[in-house]
Symmetry: C2
Subunit: 299 residues, 2 copies
C-alpha cells in the first residue's frame, strides 16, 4: 500500500454487542480496510475501533460506520462514564505512511462535510484539523456533553464547523480531527471506590492543573468492579512517556494509601512506546530499536 | 524468503576494529544475507554478530567469517573476561521461519564438518545439535578455556565431534550449535569494583546453584569502567523473563549495598521479550500483542 491512514473512531456504545458488531461490520466490509482492533468498555459505554487503509477507503469506512451508529444509537438513552457529544463521538485520522498531516486534515474536512450534509449532524473539527484555535484541544470541543450541548450549541462560539447549529435529535454531534501517531489512550486502575482520589490524581498529572504537558486525564468510577480509574489521553508518548505517568500515579496513589492494581492501553500504541517502558525499567544501556528482532522485518 | 535462519556467531575479538570489520565484511558480502547487528565488547574482548538468511547462505556466511577469524585472531595473544575456546568461539543457528530445529541441527553438522576438514579446527556440537548428552549445555562444552583445553582435549571425553583431537595452533576450537528463538544474552552492571559480589549474585540466579531454571550467569569485572557485571544467558525468556531476573539481581545487590546501574541486551531479542517487560511493570490488564501497531505489519 502506498498511502496508509489510521482511523480511530469512538462510538457511544460499549454494552449492546449487536450494535457494536453492526458498526464494526460496516468498516470491515469496505474494500482495502484492515481492521486492527475493537475495544468496548461497559463502564465508559464506549467502543474504540482502530483500522487502517488508503485515505479514501478510510474516509468511506468512517462514514459508513457513522451512518450505522446514527441509525442504532440514541443519545437520549445513553449513559456512561466517558464525556461524549454524540453517537459517533470522535473520528481522528492519523498519518502512518506516505501521507502528510495536511492530507489528513483535508480528509477530516471531506468527511465532516459528508456527515453534515447527508446525516444532518453538526461536526466540530479538532486538533490538527481545527479551524478555530479554541477547538484545537478535544476537551475544549467536548466541554459540554450531549445534554448541555443542546442549548450551548446555539451560542455563536459553539456553532459547528459543518452542519446545522443544533444537535441531531438522537445522534447529537461529532468531532472529526487529525492527530499524529504519538497519541495513546491509557487508563490506570486504583483499588479504592472513592472517585475523589482518582480525580485528585488526574489533576496531579494533567497539563491544565500543572501536570505533564502532554497529558489529559479524568477520574472516573468503574461501577462493575467497584474501583476507580484515572483515564488518560497521552498526546505525545515521546515527550511524556507511559512509565513516567504510571510512576507518578503510583506515587500519588500511595499518598492516599491506595494501590495501582493495573493499567490498560486502549486500542493500539506504537512499538516505541513499549520499548521506552522496557528501556526505562531495565535501565538499558546503549539500546537501539533494531535490537528488536522483528523490527528488521516490517512490510 | 521462504526459509529463514538466524545465525549469531561469537568471535574472540572486541578491540581491534579492523579485524572486526574484516570478519563482518565476509558475512555482509554473501548474497542473500541480511546483517542485523554487530556488538563488540572491549572488556569481554568479544564480538557478537547477528545475521539472517536462507539456510545454505547462512552456512556459507558463517564459514567465511570463520576462515577470516582463523586468519586474523591469534588465541595465544587473546585476553578477555568472557570464557572462550577459540577465535571463532561459538556459532549457533536459530530457526526463524519455515525451518525446523532438525534442519538447523543438520546445518550445524554440515558447517562443523567443513570447518574441521578445511581449517583443521576441532569442533564441538552443542545445545540442540549435541551428539553427546554432556555437550548439550554450552558451559559444559566450554568448561575448559583455550589455555586448559590444549591438554584436556587429549582426554577421550573431550575429543571433538569433528576434526582433530588437538587445538588449532592459533584458532583453538569452535562450538557449533542449534538453539531456539527464546534465547537472550543479557548483562546487568553493578556500581561496585568488587567482582565477588557479581559472582555471588550470579550464583543466586543461575540454575546450577538453585536459581532460575533457564538462567546461566557469571560475575565478571569491567576493567575500563571499574565496575562489575553479572553476564547472563537467558535460555528461555518466556519461562524465565527478563524482568524477573533483573528484579532478583536488584534485590540481591541491595543486600550488599550495591546498585544496578544498567543492563544491556547483547545482540537482538524477540519483540515479545520487551513486551513482557512493559506488561509487567505497567501491570497491563488484558494486553494483547496486536495492540502494538507495527505488529500488524510484519513481512
Amino acid at each position: 500500500m502506498e498511502k496508509l491512514v489510521e482511523c480511530v473512531p469512538n462510538f457511544s456504545e460499549g454494552r449492546r454487542q449487536e450494535v457494536i458488531d453492526a458498526i464494526v461490520d460496516e468498516i470491515r466490509n469496505v474494500q482495502g480496510i484492515k481492521l486492527l482492533d475493537v475495544q468496548s468498555d461497559k463502564n465508559h459505554n464506549r467502543t474504540v475501533i482502530t483500522f487502517v487503509g488508503e485515505p479514501q477507503s478510510a474516509k468511506l469506512a468512517a462514514f459508513k460506520a457513522c451512518v450505522k451508529a446514527t441509525e442504532l444509537i440514541d443519545m437520549e438513552k445513553h449513559k456512561g462514564e466517558h464525556r461524549r457529544i454524540g453517537a459517533t463521538d470522535v473520528i481522528p485520522f492519523v498519518p502512518v505512511w506516505g501521507v502528510t498531516m495536511d492530507e489528513c486534515v483535508q480528509l477530516a474536512n471531506e468527511l465532516s462535510q459528508e456527515i453534515a450534509e447527508k446525516l444532518n449532524i453538526p461536526v466540530y473539527l479538532y486538533q490538527e484539523a481545527a479551524k478555530i484555535p479554541t477547538r484545537k484541544r478535544l476537551p475544549d470541543v467536548k466541554k459540554f456533553e450531549y445534554e448541555d450541548l443542546k442549548t450551548e450549541i446555539n451560542k455563536p462560539e459553539r456553532h459547528p464547523d459543518y452542519g446545522p447549529p443544533h444537535l441531531h435529535p438522537t445522534a447529537g454531534a461529532t468531532a472529526v480531527g487529525a492527530r499524529d501517531f504519538l497519541y495513546i489512550a491509557y487508563n490506570i486502575n486504583l483499588d479504592t471506590h472513592d472517585v475523589k482520589i482518582a480525580k485528585k490524581i488526574a489533576n496531579a498529572i494533567r497539563e491544565t492543573k500543572g501536570g505533564y504537558k502532554y497529558v489529559r486525564a479524568m477520574g472516573v468510577k468503574l461501577e462493575d468492579r467497584n474501583i476507580v480509574q484515572v483515564t488518560i489521553n497521552m498526546l505525545n508518548f515521546k515527550e511524556t512517556p507511559l512509565y513516567r505517568v504510571f510512576e507518578t500515579v503510583k506515587s500519588e496513589a500511595a499518598r492516599y494509601g491506595v494501590n495501582v492494581i493495573g493499567s490498560e492501553i486502549v486500542g493500539l500504541a506504537p512499538l516505541q512506546a513499549f520499548l521506552d517502558v522496557a528501556e526505562f525499567y531495565l535501565r538499558l544501556e546503549g539500546f537501539e530499536r533494531r535490537q528488536v528482532f522483528e523490527d528488521n522485518f516490517w512490510q
